[in-house]
Symmetry: C2
Subunit: 203 residues, 2 copies
Amino acid sequence: MAEGQIDFWFTMGSTYSYLSVMRLADVESFHGVRFRWRPFHLLLILQEMNHVPFADKPMKTRYMWRDIERRAAMYGLPVKLPAPYPVKQSVTANLVAIVGMREGWGADFVRAAYRRWMQNGEETGSEPNVSSSLRDIGQEPGRIIALANTSAANDALLSETDAARHLGIFGSPTFAVGQELFWGDDRLGDAISWLKYGAVRRT
Amino acid sequence: MAEGQIDFWFTMGSTYSYLSVMRLADVESFHGVRFRWRPFHLLLILQEMNHVPFADKPMKTRYMWRDIERRAAMYGLPVKLPAPYPVKQSVTANLVAIVGMREGWGADFVRAAYRRWMQNGEETGSEPNVSSSLRDIGQEPGRIIALANTSAANDALLSETDAARHLGIFGSPTFAVGQELFWGDDRLGDAISWLKYGAVRRT
């Protein structure tokens, strides 16, 4: 068992992040590592880079869904694909997530919202996803959405986005072990290996 | 041991393909699969997509080299990074590779050229890489470069590029099991699993 912590940077418009969101709790207990969930607003960084990962690339998008479908099956995760993409209001989902991280129910919200997105076709950040996901986890939508609309929540999200940019993050999910970045659900094993051994080893 | 064949689609301007090029022979004997090496000219497809994977994205490029460095260490492959990138004449390297695939020394050439690129800093497709890599494997550069400059070689490369485009390939390396595509060195395990079980399984 390794002591230590991995920062899990994610944005709620990211499709591939579903694969991580849904398995981190199991990975945590299996490997004895802790994840710190850090929502940020990747879209700002992508716009600065003038980078559109998928939405204007139909062949790559088709591949993405197939790849997610095969890997979700490997992890035993249900999917109904393609899910709505790109999502129009990832910022709202990220704001609610950041409120949730402060109040202690953030990871539960993120899982509920991703379940609705990837299993039911309700995109994150829009209704009914936001209110339903909050109700799924026993939170009152009115109170939370009001908090998500405060400048305090907005400042917190921008501050985390600045921290992500400063680390050199350009995609979601990204796992950070100190300054060392591992981009993609498929690099989670590399991140755990780095935390344990200071090197990427075959598992 | 699985019976069957995986098409290994690659272009010689691709950095990540180094990780596959150098280990496919071992993977082949370990897993009892066969790879058919299929050079194609990815740059044409990327230009049609208006897609620049790395060269105009410094943060992503920096990450790419670090990721390759860590994974090369995992595979026990030497590297001297960053290597020259993007390479200016990947088309020449691809043409020589396609001549080599027909004559039977293609994979040896590709390995020699990648070794020189990623270990010595000589970019593929330009001199001294092309002639030196040919000499490394006992081929006479003058004869081969003349063959690579024929319209027959050019037609063969365009025809393979058409086949790749038709399959929906947009990156290198891509492993194809029939119509099923697996993009990236990090999906080689998924491709082998698909060939053996018709599903992506945990290894």
